[in-house]
């Protein structure tokens, strides 16, 4: 471990560290544009200059220089300051300085660093360069004259997103960053280049010119669009969430989020259920809360507990699931099902917590040296798990896939779309030291789980048995035991008379045509259309909620804005409805409800990841799985009611999925 001196402070740095990292360890801030700790080193902006001796007498780019024993580094000398000022002057030569009309203003690295190193005047009297805007798709707006050619976006696309579609064409003064032939970037995580771009060259198209960062209220939230549980910040103004950005959490999302997590939020403003509705003579009519409750109470009268059931949708938070469970218990009912995708996990012999978790953990997946996917929809199911896999593959792991052949953005060996391949896996996987299998929830039938559990995935210090969930609610629901033996099909075979739907929109409700359906949710979508009573509820950003991600990590999301109109937080609706149905739920506020949860399920009571030691399931007696994998039926940009209501997501479907360019859209309109 080399020892270096930074401005007189001696620090010991890990082997392989750079001079920049050494400076940071000594508490010195080094300005930078191209360097990013999660991307490869480019060393092309020269903003990070420091003096290093021994070495050449000129300042050195600290981001690309390895720290070596005995170096004396100076970060504050006159020479360093002048050098950085020179770099800044060069950068600003071709920069338009159009901060007043730039969306990056207020959160721009160039603006900030120009405050520190800008000269305040220009000696450049020639014409400035101008670069045409580049079309990159419906999410990323470009103003390429502002680009300083740091190539962060290029490196992100290649290294993290796995889509080599962005590049730097031409050279020198004529260099231009563009997507190939100006096509829409086909990545599920493309929005992150907006955060990465240190200037205003890449900004968010859907929120162009809507807000300044300093006008926005920031609330820490958890993404509920998939089961990764990405840590996010909701930026709101006057009761509206304007945008969502990631929060750094190395255990979960690092500092990325998916495009649906970032841009689906404008769906919160459309097609909202903002008052109760009751079906009268076959037609839904607006109603008051009292009338809605009264019609439920009238219908529930005399229905025995075993004829009452509930389904839990993908975005439910822990609180409302517990309230729903308590309500049903009060009615003498026990049938609540969360597995709407045919997964068998949660039922014996796969009823232990370790069976439905992502046991390697998300960060731990990077340590795997061989990875098997059962089902190939991962780029849509969990884009941020795919970025972890990409990292593992870059570090040398092999990737095997059973399922339909798709472009995964990482080299993969496809073993065919037949689950019988589980019985004949390649030696490279079976003999790996740290193998990991990721079973898509929709493919987690009992035989598949049995076959995967029989693989040599678990050993001292390593558990490679992972379930890849898509629903943010799922692991929490499984921990609460919201399963019906036999699952959805058993429920359909013996349909209830009274059915509660907690944000359920993705399944065929035909088998429950005879049931009286109470829909609790935020958007007027398929579930609401089929309902007999609609109770308008808060969407995930409109309530404090606890989400358990696919690893089993408990995370709390705060309320960013209030729900519209008469909509209320789900658990309070259930609490009030219970009263009306003669069931008393023993909590009047969130804190009491959370205490109730922590009491019965201590692992869900506190934030963080409670360990779940592996319990080997008894897999005797299961036949070998065979046949094709189950395909994901939902599109990436249209998977939930919120996304379907989002104009931005509609643009994504048109321009990314269907490949139409916006001019054509205008022409067609």
């Amino acid at each position: 471990m080399p020892k270096v001196t930074v401005d007189g402070i001696e620090v010991e740095v890990p082997a392989g560290a750079t001079v920049m990292q050494a400076c940071e360890m000594a508490g010195k801030e080094i300005p930078r544009f191209c360097y990013h700790e999660r991307l490869s080193i480019a060393g092309n902006c020269r903003m990070c200059l420091v003096e290093v001796s021994p070495g050449p007498p000129k300042p050195q780019a600290s981001c690309a220089l390895p720290a070596a024993e005995g170096q004396v580094i100076t970060t504050t000398s006159e020479k360093v300051r002048k050098a950085r000022e020179g770099v800044m002057e060069f950068l600003l030569i071709n920069h338009p300085l159009d901060c007043p009309i730039c969306d990056q203003g207020g959160e721009c690295d160039l603006q900030d660093q120009a405050m520190a190193y800008g000269r305040g005047y220009s000696r450049f009297a020639e014409n400035k360069r101008a670069v045409t805007e580049k079309y990159m798709g419906p999410l990323v707006k470009t103003v390429m004259t502002r680009c300083i050619h740091c190539t962060r976006c290029v490196r992100f696309a290649e290294e993290v997103a796995g889509v080599e579609e962005i590049g730097a064409l031409f050279r020198g003064e004529n260099m231009q960053i563009t997507s190939y032939l100006e096509q829409a970037v086909t990545s599920e995580v493309s929005g992150n280049i907006i955060d990465l771009c240190p200037v205003g060259a890449l900004t968010a198209k859907p929120t162009a010119f809507t807000a300044r960062p300093w006008e926005l209220t920031r609330t820490d939230t958890i993404d509920a669009m998939d089961a990764v549980g990405s840590n996010t910040v909701a930026h709101s103004r006057s009761g509206t969430v304007i945008r969502i950005t990631p929060r750094v959490n190395d255990d979960v999302n690092e500092e990325w989020i998916s495009d649906i997590a970032r841009f689906g939020v404008d769906g919160l403003r459309e097609r909202r259920l903002d008052r109760p509705w009751v079906r009268v003579d076959g037609r839904l009519r607006e109603a008051s809360w009292a009338a809605a409750f009264a019609s439920i109470a009238a219908r529930a009268e005399g229905v025995p507990g075993e004829r009452v059931a509930a389904l839990v949708g993908p975005m439910a938070a822990l609180e409302e699931m517990v309230a729903l469970r308590d309500l049903l218990t009060g009615l003498g009912a026990s049938r609540i099902e969360c597995r709407l995708d045919g997964s068998a996990v949660g039922e014996a012999p796969f009823a232990d917590r370790s069976h439905w978790r992502f046991n390697t953990t998300l960060a731990g997946l990077e340590q795997a040296d061989s990875i098997l996917l059962v089902g190939s929809a991962i780029r849509h199911d969990a884009p941020l798990v795919m970025t972890r896999i990409r990292k593992a593959v870059r570090a040398g792991a092999e990737l095997f896939v059973i399922g339909e052949e798709r472009e995964l953005g990482a080299p993969a060996t496809f073993l065919g779309d037949d689950l019988s391949a589980l019985a004949a896996l390649p030696e490279a996987f079976l003999r790996a030291e740290r193998p990991a299998a990721l079973v898509e929830s929709r493919n987690a039938r009992a035989e598949v789980l049995a076959a995967v559990a029989a693989l040599p995935l678990v050993r001292e210090g390593w558990n490679g048995f992972n379930l890849l969930h898509t629903d943010a609610s799922r692991v929490g629901a499984l921990e609460l035991g919201l399963v019906v033996p036999g699952g959805l099909s058993a429920l359909a075979a013996d349909p209830p008379e009274l059915l509660f739907l907690l944000g359920v929109d993705e399944i065929d409700l035909a088998p429950f045509a005879g049931a009286f359906k109470v829909y609790l949710g935020s958007h007027g979508d398929r579930g609401a259309a089929a309902a007999d009573v609609i109770l308008p509820a808060a969407a995930w950003l409109e309530k404090p909620g606890t989400f358990v991600n696919m690893e089993g990590r408990v995370q709390r999301s705060l309320r960013a804005v209030f729900p519209p109109g008469d909509a209320r937080e789900d658990w309070t609706i259930l609490r009030a409805l219970a009263d009306r149905l003669g069931v008393r739920l023993p909590y009047d506020d969130l804190a009491t409800l959370r205490r109730r949860i922590a009491h019965e399920w201590p692992q869900l009571g506190a934030e963080g990841l409670a360990p779940a030691p592996w319990v080997a399931p008894d897999v005797a007696g299961f036949g070998a799985p065979s046949g094709p994998t189950v395909r994901r039926s939902a599109g990436f940009y249209t998977a939930t009611p919120i996304l379907r209501a989002s104009p931005t997501m509609a643009a994504c479907v048109a321009e990314i999925v269907e490949g139409r360019k916006p001019q054509l859209l205008e022409a067609a309109a």
């Binding site: 962005i166 590049g167 064409l169 997507s179 190939y180």
Partner: protein
Amino acid sequence: MSDFRDFRWTPENAREAERIIARYPKGREASAIMPLLWLAQNQMRDETGIAWLPLPVIEYVAAQIGMPKIRALEVATFYTMYNLKPIGRFHVQVCGTTPCWLRGSDEVFRACFDRGLKKGETTPDGLFTLSEVECLGACANAPVMQVNDDNYEDLSYETTLAVLDALAAGRTPKPGSQIGRTASCPEGGPTTLKELA
């Protein structure tokens, strides 16, 4: 070959391409991009009379070595030796860097202009495209211009006109020094080491 989507190597070039790719270690095939693009551009010249690289040709080369299209396009746009637009039959590249400039490259350009050539453009008859380039590496024989694969050196206004006229007339003027010296030997014969000791 209207949109060049059916571009394929000729049998000889296919072999040459294999040979080029084999120069690089396995897994590093992308290193072959530059010579392959060059080979493709020359094949275009042989097949169509115009040495340039339409997009489908660049994509064809990229696909052969498993390189993402954008990476191949980055290379093709970076180097001036690849023509991304159709050019004339003769690509006249006149060096304007300091040594050539001091030795009279302005005169060379004047000759080109007088024959109707314009920088960055192709003459209406499709014969000549004029580019100003940086040092061609033959400064000792400045001023220099390169026409396709040949260098014409020690140029003056008159000799430049002569070269252009000969090309236009379908002849191939003798490449190299236009004042008759061999390579960069001193003008008028050796000035030193004249006798064996």
